[in-house]
């Protein structure tokens, strides 16, 4: 075909629409089933089209709520969470959540309004340099310059957000671009010559790994969220069991391997289990699958896995060798790599002794806490939540001590049930993320576990929960403190509790009541049992304000600067 014929062919499928109409149709093409957002001047044309689009939109009460809800949705489904925010303050209000999604590799597509192209650069009303602000915190970002680019840009954005190593992609849309009409092909070709993530691992590297495994005596798998992003939990299970290799999880990887299986050692890192950290410290082969050797996991790098040959499977080549010298790099999707490893069916390593050692650690140094002070223990609360939900809930946390206790005392046997802010540690994440998780999984029981501090950062989203009658079980682990800060001040700053304890707190039960959500308070274990049992059987939302021992600390712990083998508080 001549170039001209091609052109006219193309011309035929072009249709004329306004930018906002192109956007609505592009979103439908992507099968977007929910949008979290907040309107404003610059996105009025978009909201006007949304009104009659048939697309499902949830009005959160703060843009931060929108973005965290989208993250919760993305974490549970693996599909991009979609957010709309207006220009200026709307856009800057989503910055924290975008950063959070970037570091935790969550797929998001964020649309921000922008002032009209004619006034960009003039400090117009509600103008902010959103491209500039979000460049370091997005996988990619766009500003739409021509209406007819919208179908292509939206298609590319969803592709970039959800392929390779997932991440947030932002599209900034000037107001006039949304209003003006243009001619465009609604099924355009993507134009991404510089984007070709490696999915299929190199077979030779896999062979090297198989060989290393067969000759190892103390192998360990460190499984991160990459296993979950690639939907490779089944393959991880098959592979670990085929080879008899024990598994340690990162904080974000929890649920990738069934916690009740004998090969599961536990979570590694700062508040991981003794057995997991000792396994990492003494193994002779460390197979990292989809984790990024974050410093909260490794402790002091000088002492990390000193005897190990390191193999690292990651979809992002830049993660391999970034923090830890790596002998066997494997670039690719975790599921694909595991599938290949399973197919190799290599010679099993002889690990009887190693497993015995690990089992002895597990038996002698299990997670533990004292429950003899009469006060309600936060660890007990988590255990009760686990018990009364049969370990089958989707657990969403905020950030702080309660988050670590949830990770320690709510073992997961299935993937995609654990939603937490890992890399950024964003307080205020939990409650809105629980909304996104519940929207994604309407049939599942969702528990939102927050601290009394972080809960107050985004508690306005109770309105959404009430409005939609989302059956979220909202649990506040109330220690009248910024507990994690208080703990560090106790241990590292001679108990100088500088601005970490609350003299004043709202009555959380009344707060729930103000939104029409039933709320209950407990101060003893007996009361907590009654309330938790009741809460899980209630149909709608419920808030539990559980007053726990205020001086409780998270243990065991690897202090900053220490190696994983130097855990403190292993025995209570």
């Amino acid at each position: 075909m001549t170039e001209k014929a091609l052109l006219t062919n193309r011309e035929k499928v072009k249709v004329e629409k306004s930018g906002a109409d192109f956007l609505m149709d592009a979103l439908k093409k992507q099968n977007v089933d929910v949008i979290f957002g907040y309107p404003g001047g610059a996105v009025l044309p978009i909201y006007d089209k949304l009104y009659s689009s048939g697309l499902f939109h949830i009005l959160t009460r703060h843009e931060q709520g929108s973005i965290h809800a989208a993250e919760g949705y993305a974490r549970v489904t693996g599909k991009p969470g979609v957010v709309i925010a207006t220009s200026g303050p709307g856009a800057t209000n989503v910055v924290t959540g975008i950063t959070d999604a970037m570091i935790d590799s969550l797929p998001l597509v964020i649309f921000t309004g922008q002032v009209a192209t004619s006034v960009i650069g003039t400090d117009a009303f509600q103008e902010a340099d959103v491209l500039g602000i979000t460049t370091p915190i997005t996988k990619h970002n766009y500003q739409v310059r021509k209406t007819e680019d919208i179908p292509r840009i939206v298609k590319e954005a969803f592709h970039i957000a959800s392929s390779g190593r997932p991440g947030p992609v932002l599209i900034d849309i000037p107001k006039d671009i949304a209003i003006l009409s243009g001619f465009a092909d609604e099924d355009p070709e993507m134009d991404l010559p510089g984007y070709q993530p490696t999915v299929q691992p190199n077979h030779l590297q896999i062979r090297k790994l198989v060989e290393a495994v067969s000759s190892s005596e103390k192998p360990v798998i460190l499984a991160g969220a990459g296993v979950l992003h690639s939907k490779g939990a089944d393959e991880l299970k098959t592979y670990a069991q085929q080879q008899g290799i024990p598994v340690v999880h990162t904080l974000l990887g929890l649920g990738g391997y069934p916690a009740d299986h004998s090969l599961f050692i536990g979570m590694g890192g700062m508040h991981g289990s003794y057995a997991a950290n000792m396994a990492l410290s003494t193994c002779d082969l460390l197979i990292n699958i989809g984790a990024r050797f974050d410093d909260r996991l490794t402790g002091n790098l000088k002492y990390f896995a000193p005897y190990a040959t390191v193999a690292h499977i990651d979809i992002d080549p830049a993660e391999i060798g970034k923090n830890i010298p790596t002998k066997i790099p494997v670039v690719g999707n975790a599921k694909e790599a595991l599938t290949d490893l399973i197919a190799q069916d290599g010679k099993k390593p002889e690990v009887t002794k190693w497993i015995e050692t690990i089992n002895a650690w597990k038996k002698d140094f299990p997670l533990c806490y004292r429950n003899d002070t009469g006060a309600l223990k936060p660890q007990k609360v988590i255990e009760l939540l686990h018990q009364y939900t049969n370990g089958e809930a989707i657990v969403v946390t905020d950030v702080g001590q309660h988050q670590m206790w949830a990770a320690q005392y709510y073992p997961f046997n299935k993937p995609h049930a654990w939603v937490t802010s890992g890399g950024l540690g964003t307080m205020g994440f939990g409650l809105p993320a629980a909304i996104g998780a519940q929207i994604a999984e309407p049939e599942n029981i969702v528990i939102s576990i927050s601290g009394d501090g972080g809960f107050q950062m985004t508690n306005q989203e109770l309105a959404v929960i009430a409005e939609m009658n989302l059956p979220i079980k909202i649990v506040i682990i109330n220690n009248h403190a910024l507990g994690m800060v208080r703990q560090w001040q106790e241990i590292f700053h001679e108990k100088r509790y500088s601005h970490s304890t609350f003299q004043t707190q709202p009555d959380f039960v009344k707060l729930a009541d103000a939104y029409g959500i039933p709320g209950f308070k407990a101060t003893t274990e007996a009361e907590a049992i009654v309330l938790i049992e009741k809460a899980v059987t209630m149909n709608g939302p419920v808030l539990l304000d559980l007053h726990v021992e205020p001086e409780e600390n998270v243990y065991p712990m690897v202090s900053p600067g220490k190696g994983l083998h130097e855990m403190e508080g292993v025995k209570q």
């Binding site: 460049t135 370091p136 310059r145 991404l192 510089g194 830049a318 060798g321």
Partner: protein, 170 residues
């Protein structure tokens, strides 16, 4: 060590910002950076010179740059046989007494005088960074009024004398 990375990038708004941002975010130090059109329309070519502690850092840099969607190609040519050039404009004080002397220094460096005023000469010099540095040292005693350097732009040579130490992306 000194590292040289060349980039082929889409000439789109915000691309330069993305690249400089990445260097800031990852705490990399840029010594110089040049950008200009390449042989292909819509595609620019950049040369980035960096000072790093070791090769590991350059490898990381290369990998991080590779992830950028608007970067089409990243080439670490630090250990390759390359041709590299930089241009400098130097305005140096010159009196009628020392003008001849300055001119005699210019010649071996194949520099050129491109502007003359009553009390100064403007000299243009091209070459590798070290040569330019040496020339500037020579000019210093006369008094440098103004100095502008472009930064290095570079290519691998058509034929490589040693085998390329290229990054293994497996």
């Amino acid at each position: 060590m000194k590292g040289i990375i060349t980039l082929t990038v889409n000439n789109r708004p915000g691309v330069l910002n993305r690249i400089t941002n990445l260097f800031t975010k990852r705490n990399y130090n840029i010594e110089s950076m040049t950008v200009g059109p390449s042989e292909q329309e819509g595609i620019s070519r950049m040369t980035v010179v960096v000072h790093v502690e070791n090769e590991h850092v350059i490898e990381q840099m290369t990998k991080q740059l590779n992830k950028q969607i608007d970067i089409l190609k990243v080439n670490d040519i630090s250990n390759q046989s390359i041709v590299s050039r930089e241009l400098a404009l130097i305005k140096v004080m010159a009196t009628s007494q020392n003008r001849a002397e300055i001119n005699s220094l210019i010649e071996p460096f194949r520099a050129a005088v491109i502007d003359i005023s009553k009390d100064s000469l403007t000299i243009q010099i091209t070459g590798e960074s070290e040569k330019i540095g040496a020339f500037i040292e020579l000019m210093k005693p006369y008094g440098i009024k103004e100095l502008a350097r472009t930064g290095t732009t570079a290519f691998p040579r058509g034929t490589q004398r040693t085998s390329n130490k290229s990054l293994t992306i497996v």
